[in-house]
């Protein structure tokens, strides 16, 4: 029991130092621009199909599920605004971040874990290349910038899904549909929702890197690193979301 508590505090301390190192090294040259762009391509571009499918289904299902209730109150015309608001403020950021946790965080955890186990990270270290700068800084930065873009993309595709959902039971002009959405949205709906996606991205990247970078020796630890990265990143997304909603509620 005491050992478990001690291990928990040790892990918290190590994680803090790992995160602190990021803020120290991100400003120190050499800047690994090529690797950063490569990671943006892998994390951002290669996640587009998955995010598109999920976003479309989110919008479609949300519309179909909400419609009967709104029809009962004769408020069917509120449907575009309600769907867009739900998607932009909550559903698209959280669901996209969870998908990224599953795809990106586990991928980074497994990749770095495998590099650690096969001494590739040590090989970088002994050849006087800073593995943290090359592997961690680039991936965390790419995640921090790409996840918000993926969320914007999911918002847009989700809204198209909502339009398709509305047109299953009726006939709404796309221009009118968009006008209703724009009228129901405010600047303050977008700002907190966008800000929290940067935190989602940062933690998705950081947790994947931490778990992979600290994989203990042995192939079993690669699987553990990937698994642990997904679980921790998913949990952290919900915690960040809860904190973000509380802060938004307080100030906006």
């Amino acid at each position: 029991m005491i050992l478990a508590i001690k291990n928990t505090f040790t892990e918290i301390g190590e994680t803090t130092l790992f995160v602190k190192r990021f803020f120290k090294e991100v400003f120190i040259p050499p800047y690994e621009t090529k690797e950063f762009l490569k990671q943006c391509y892998i994390i951002g571009y290669k996640s587009l199909p998955l995010v598109a499918i999920t976003g479309f289904i989110m919008g479609l299902v949300l519309t179909l599920q909400s419609r009967p209730t709104l029809v009962q109150f004769g408020a069917e015309s509120w449907l575009p605004g309600m769907v867009a608001l739900s998607l932009i403020r909550e559903i698209a950021p959280v669901i996209t971040a969870l998908i990224c946790a599953g795809k990106i965080s586990s991928g980074i955890g497994a990749e770095l874990g495998s590099m650690k186990v096969t001494e590739q990270i040590d090989a970088m270290e002994v050849s006087a290349v800073n593995p943290y700068n090359y592997l961690v800084v680039t991936r965390v930065l790419a995640c921090t910038l790409m996840v918000p873009l993926l969320v914007f993309f999911a918002d847009a595709i989700g809204i198209i899904g909502g339009y398709v959902g509305i047109n299953i039971h009726g006939d709404v002009n796309f221009y009118r549909f968009l006008t209703q959405i724009v009228q129901s949205l405010e600047y303050l709906d977008l700002l907190p929702a966008t800000l929290k996606t940067f935190f989602f991205g940062f933690f998705i990247g950081m947790i994947g890197c931490y778990k992979g970078f600290n994989a203990s020796n042995g192939t079993e630890s690669v699987g553990q690193a990937a698994n642990s990265a997904v679980v921790t990143a998913s949990l952290s997304i919900f915690i960040i979301d809860m904190v973000a909603v509380q802060i938004t509620d307080l100030f906006f």
């Binding site: 050499p30 090989a123 270290e125 002994v126 050849s127 006087a128």
Partner: protein, 259 residues
């Protein structure tokens, strides 16, 4: 292809006795009571090939990982090129690391990169002003030194165990190190490939005038490459001498390595 002619250098006693690595009273314990090193004292002289023998888990790899700063010892002193690597800054340590090559047991090639990228990666990180043509020339030269120029476009997954080690060595050589640390260079290889790697170690020593510490269990490799051999036992250096001397050592345990 690799030059087959061997260039066996004179034995240690006839050579330059300038120490380039000096390890004094090195201690390392993992966890609470897993004592690995209990006061290792070791010297590598310039131009010398030093073979380290010992049973598995005796601390051979730990010792050379301490030299390059991969493992931090609990106590002791490690001087490389007259600098105590345990008391210097990270940037100073990196300057020394560039002058030391390290061949990992598995080769430790970067899986996501081709052979060309593996070699160019290390080079371009240290010589950022090199043109692509110069990088290509240096990569091909390093690969030709290990006899694997034709593997330049292959991925590590397409290489055999022996090829991985040679490419690992080429990646080490591309920075033209003065010292090379070999961590079990022939482990897991067949007899013929092991001999080729041992010949390569000698060839590199002749061409690049390197000094080496070679950790091995392969006595054929030790016989071919060693100017001097040290034997690790119970966390300290138990015996030291040339291959011929230790082969006839009065300690039966030492002799058992040579049987």
């Amino acid at each position: 292809m690799m030059e087959k002619k061997l260039h066996k250098e004179p034995k240690a006693k006839e050579k330059d006795q300038t120490p380039i690595i000096e390890i004094k009273d090195l201690h390392k314990t993992f966890g609470k009571d897993n004592v690995i090193l209990k006061g290792v004292n070791l010297t590598l002289n310039k131009g010398e090939d030093l073979v380290v023998l010992g049973r598995s888990g005796s601390g051979k790899s730990v010792t050379i990982k301490c030299i390059v700063g991969l493992i931090e010892p609990d106590k002791g002193e490690i001087k490389v090129f007259d600098e105590n690597v345990l008391n210097i800054s990270k940037s100073q340590l990196n300057e020394i690391r560039v002058r030391i090559g390290f061949l990992f047991q598995s080769g430790a090639l970067y899986d996501s990169m081709s052979v060309r990228e593996n070699l160019a990666f290390t080079l371009t990180k240290h010589k950022r002003d090199l043109s692509p043509e110069e990088v290509e020339r240096e990569v091909m030269e390093a690969l030709e030194n290990v006899g694997l120029a034709e593997a330049v476009d292959k991925m590590p997954s397409e290489l055999s165990g022996g090829m991985r080690k040679r490419i690992g060595l080429a990646r080490t050589l591309i920075l033209k190190p003065e010292i090379i640390l070999y961590d079990e260079p022939t482990t897991g290889l067949d007899t013929i490939t092991s001999r080729e790697i041992s010949e390569l170690i000698l060839d590199i020593k002749h061409k690049q005038k390197t000094s080496s510490i070679i950790i091995t269990h392969d006595m054929a490799c030790a016989k071919m490459t060693a100017d001097r051999i040290v034997v690790l036992k119970d966390g300290v250096i138990h015996a030291e001498g040339t291959y011929e001397e230790l082969e006839k050592d009065e300690d039966e345990w030492v002799r058992s390595f040579f049987e």
